[in-house]
């Protein structure tokens, strides 16, 4: 049970955070919180050795057994790697936040509760083997991320960013849920492992493509792929520790995780390969191109994250090719390795860069790159860390970004050798786009670090007098930067312990154990490879472009605002708001007559329609009684009374017409042998006519013009249709009686069992007294309501006094 419970440890710890915050004021709450991810990181680290040997760990906690829903913790190479990233970077981020957030000014209990909640959600996402619990944790990440982005909730931009990320990620999450359900329908199981085993059979299923697209939508929205990346730059309104943790290292990689996890299921599909690779490479280019435009430090990093996520995504798409034909023997197998390797590298350098951006913000009071500059001598440690991170991001030796970028280029170059799916023609585009994107990556990396730390020092533009950050704040970025350098020198150690078990999880059909993966990372292959040539080109062109940046940066201003995706998002949201409002105002007119028209016309349409569609309309006159002269006379009177009511000019005439109709009905009851009904109808008719007259007498004098009801064609049509409907219904109901009436029983038992002679009354008080009980209750309520309405009119009277 322990392995599943590890997931929930942060959530359980979150319960105590507010208590600690309120009771222990002089110690920063973060110190207590730090213990949680640190402990978990140590626990997960103890799994490393066994997982690297190819073992997997599985534990199930039944949740709703009757629906086959449980929380399954499944630890293999992929989920262990993510768990370590979450807890490891989580610890560093908590440590950083202790120095970043002031314990007196900030609501720390909120912050750490949200953060711990997020940690549980994220661990749940990466360890869940069960589709439904995966979705559960997935939405929990969306919600906790929403809370964290909106942490400074009094700022408009925070709330806007939080709402935007919520709308997009939850929208995608819902799509994903649809995809999951389709997978369950196809495979009959919620377990991802079992679905992977039956993957070859799923391809033939007609729902396969739907499920693929829906799940990809979920992954793309979460991982900020084109065109859903727009929430990520706005999410930068969150506190910097949150941006470093959620929006670079963990949450945005949930989509990556999802794609990697489902690759064995969907990789057989050509659509999957093209969508994942294509969207990934497009996002890579788009993000790197627009990162240069940003003036906010965190904005640059946000676009850079988008771009790097696109890179990993495209590599995962390429790794799917290994499932096809000769792919396994080709260099294409580098793709999965490169994806995971770069994922680790990105988490290290991007985490440190975000923290540096936070430090700069914290120490100078601004993140605007136009106001910054020349901070190198003031903040030397921060500069060192920033330079390491940026150069790694740019893909330069001796940093880990170089290694993964080389492997990325290798994989992209290998794409054109692939013979299926049109890659032998279109595949050549991939290395070109990748190369151009890499040049822009180089440019924004340099832009980020050199615009901030070198150049002219502008103290007059800075809100605070800058100085080096406290050492506690620098510990986390320094640890990450140290990792950046270390990984460059020991890539194969990282590869064997972390990357290969994860690659085996992505490509389980190719390898039996992580030891079978024969990939060796080397910084220098001993010869001039095409990748190396491309890197030289990147450096050369990148430096040129960076130097000439002021000359060409103007082109970003040429890009019309109306064509941006943010504009599209705003327009869609506004359009939905206004459009739906307009639609509902179109038919919700507030006029009772319109609603009655809708109701009556739909009733008539439905009943007449189904009468004819179901062929239920039959007329037979076999059971009818002979018509006597009384009835003819009464019907004539009834029709005249009705006509008077409708056509009368004066309301008084209409009331009297209505009374005539009522008394005629009473006479009908008389000739059809219903004396009780006749009696009641007579008295009730009298009372209601009296009440009508009362209402008539009290009509306001103003605007009381006696005029005939205006003729309106649509109302006439609807009324006639309703009349026709009722007539047809009555005729066909009378013509086809399925079962005999039960009134024989009443006739036989009224005296012997109920001790009475008047069947009607005995039914009312004995056989069906229950109905009568509630009818008199209705009567009582009506009486009380009239009493209340008339007696309790205090408000209106008070108002009229006010008006005077």
């Amino acid at each position: 049970m322990l392995q599943v419970l590890y997931i929930f440890i942060p959530m359980l710890a979150a319960i105590f955070v507010p208590l600690l915050y309120k009771s222990i004021k002089n110690i920063h709450t973060g110190w207590f919180v730090l213990a949680v991810p640190a402990t978990l990181a140590i626990i997960y680290a103890s799994y490393i050795g066994k997982v690297a040997d190819g073992k997997v760990f599985l534990q199930e906690l039944p949740w709703i057994p009757s629906l086959d829903i449980s929380i399954v913790s499944y630890l293999d190479g992929l989920s262990l790697l993510f768990s370590l990233l979450i807890t490891g970077i989580g610890s560093l981020v908590v440590l950083y936040s202790i120095f970043y957030l002031d314990k007196h000014k900030e609501k720390l209990h909120n912050f750490y509760v949200y953060l711990l909640l997020f940690m549980t959600a994220m661990l749940g996402v990466v360890q869940s083997d069960h589709l439904i619990s995966l979705y559960f944790f997935w939405e929990l990440t969306s919600i906790s991320s929403f809370l964290l982005i909106g942490y400074w909730y009094s700022r408009d931009a925070s709330r806007f960013g939080a709402l935007k990320s919520m709308m997009i990620t939850v929208g995608g999450g819902l799509m994903m849920l649809g995809g999951f359900i389709l997978l369950y329908i196809m495979g009959g199981t919620y377990s991802i492992r079992e679905l992977i085993v039956m993957a070859p059979n799923l391809v033939q299923h007609p729902l396969f493509t739907w499920s693929l697209v829906l799940i990809l939508l979920g992954a793309f929205t979460k991982s900020a792929q084109f065109p859903f990346y727009i929430w990520l730059p706005d999410a930068m309104e969150a506190p910097t520790p949150v941006s470093a943790y959620l929006h670079s290292a963990t949450m945005v990689k949930a989509g990556i995780y999802l794609v990697a996890r489902f690759t064995p299921i969907f990789a057989v599909s050509e659509l999957w390969v093209w969508l994942v690779t294509g969207v990934g490479i497009l996002t890579l280019f788009w993000g790197s191109f627009f990162a240069v435009k940003q003036t906010d430090l965190k904005g640059i990093l946000a676009f850079s994250t988008v771009s790097q996520l696109g890179l990993i995504m495209s590599l995962l798409g390429a790794s799917a090719l290994a499932f096809h034909g000769n792919g396994a023997t080709d260099t294409i197998k580098y793709a999965a390795f490169a994806a995971i390797f770069h994922l680790i590298n990105h988490a290290t350098f991007k985490g440190s860069l975000f923290m540096i951006a936070g430090i700069v913000d914290h120490e100078t009071g601004t993140r605007d790159i136009r106001k910054l500059g020349g901070l190198m001598s003031i903040m030397p440690l921060s500069f060192t860390v920033a330079a390491i991170g940026s150069l790694s991001m740019a893909g330069l030796p001796p940093f880990n970004g170089f290694l993964s970028k080389e492997m990325f280029l290798t994989a992209m170059l290998a794409l054109q050798n692939f013979e299926f799916f049109g890659f032998d023609t279109w595949g050549a585009l991939f290395p070109i786009i990748a190369w151009i994107a890499s040049i822009f990556t180089f440019v924004y990396s340099f832009y980020f670090v050199f615009r901030t730390f070198t150049g002219k020092y502008k103290p007059e533009k800075l809100p605070h007098k800058p100085h080096e950050a406290p050492i506690g704040m620098l510990i986390s970025p320094m640890i990450l930067a140290a990792l950046v350098v270390t990984i460059f020198f020991i890539p194969n150690l990282v590869g064997d312990t972390f990357v290969k078990p994860a690659v085996q999880a992505i490509q389980p059909f190719l390898y039996d154990s992580p030891k079978d993966i024969d990939i060796h990372v080397a910084a220098w292959h001993g010869e001039i490879t095409p990748e190396l040539v491309m890197t030289f080109g990147i450096v050369l062109l990148g430096v040129l472009l960076f130097v000439a940046l002021p000359k060409w940066q103007g082109i970003y201003q040429k890009f019309p605002r109306a064509l941006t995706l943010n504009n599209a998002y705003d327009k869609i949201m506004l359009g939905l708001d206004v459009g739906l409002n307009r639609v509902s105002r179109l038919y919700m007119t507030g006029s009772m007559r319109h609603y009655l028209l809708y109701m009556f016309s739909s009733i008539a349409a439905i009943v007449i329609g189904s009468l004819f569609v179901k062929n239920a309309f039959t007329v037979s006159f076999q059971d009818t009684s002979p018509i006597r002269p009384y009835e003819i006379i009464l019907v004539v009177v009834l029709v005249i009374g009705t006509a008077i009511t409708i056509l009368a000019k004066s309301r008084l005439t209409a009331i009297i017409g209505l009374g005539a109709v009522g008394y005629t009905v009473a006479l009908f009851f008389v000739i059809f042998n219903a004396p009780d009904l006749a009696l009641t109808q007579l008295v009730i008719e009298t009372i209601s006519v009296a009440l009508f007259l009362l209402a008539f007498y009290h009509l306001p004098k103003l605007g009381k013009r006696e005029e005939r009801m205006r003729f309106q064609l649509n109302r006439a049509i609807v009324s006639i249709a309703v009349g026709v409907m009722v007539t047809l219904l009555a005729l066909s109901a009378h013509s086809q009686k399925l079962i005999p009436t039960i009134s024989k029983y009443y006739e036989e038992t009224v005296y012997s069992k109920a001790g009475g002679g008047n069947i009607v009354n005995v039914i009312l008080v004995d056989y069906r007294g229950f109905d009568t009980l509630f009818e008199i209750t209705v009567l009582g309520i009506a009486g009380m309501a009239i009493l209340a309405m008339i007696k309790l009119r205090m408000n209106r009277k008070e108002k009229s006094h006010e008006n005077k």
């Binding site: 004396p675 009780d676 009696l679 009641t680 008295v683 009730i684 009298t686 009372i687 009440l691 009362l694 109920a754 001790g755 009475g756 002679g757 008047n758 009607v760 009354n761 005995v762 009312l764 008080v765 004995d766 007294g769 229950f770 009568t772 009980l773 008199i776 209750t777 009567l779 009582g780 009506a782 009486g783 009380m784 009239i786 009493l787 008339i790 007696k791």
Partner: protein, 140 residues
């Protein structure tokens, strides 16, 4: 000018009792012949309405000092109690009992718990109609 309603007031004094006794008759005979609590109640209230028309609301209230909302409540309670009573004897809700008795003066008659329920109906009908008429009549 004060109108003198002597004829209508005099007639009412007689007609009221005729209608009232007729309503009681209809109410009591309901189980065997047309009638019952509902019509009986309506007729009783029409007798009272006749009084209201001939005299006025305040006079009628002095003659018949009845709170009609209480009357409604009593009627509902009576009906509910009659319906619920059999549950205490282990019978289903709304079981009625009846038997024939030799009563002094009246001879052999049946007594039926449905009559109690019908009295509830009667009281509710009188109460509600009179509440409505009285409130509307009093309203300015």
């Amino acid at each position: 000018m004060k109108t003198n309603d002597v004829i209508i007031q005099f007639t009412t004094k007689i007609v009221f009792f005729i209608i009232f006794f007729f309503s009681i008759h209809i109410f009591l005979a309901g189980h065997y012949t047309p009638g019952g609590g509902f019509v009986g109640g309506l007729l009783t209230s029409s007798a009272i309405v006749l009084l209201v028309l001939a005299f006025d609301l305040n006079t009628v209230r002095k003659v018949l000092p009845i709170n009609y909302t209480y009357l409604t409540a009593i009627g509902l309670l009576l009906a509910l109690a009659t319906a619920a009573f059999p549950m205490f004897l282990g019978k289903p809700f709304f079981t009625h009992f009846f038997d024939y008795f030799d009563l002094p003066l009246l001879g052999k008659q049946s007594l039926h718990t449905a009559m109690l329920f019908d009295s509830g109906v009667y009281l509710v009908v009188v109460g509600v109609t009179m509440t409505i008429i009285q409130t509307i009549g009093e309203d300015e």
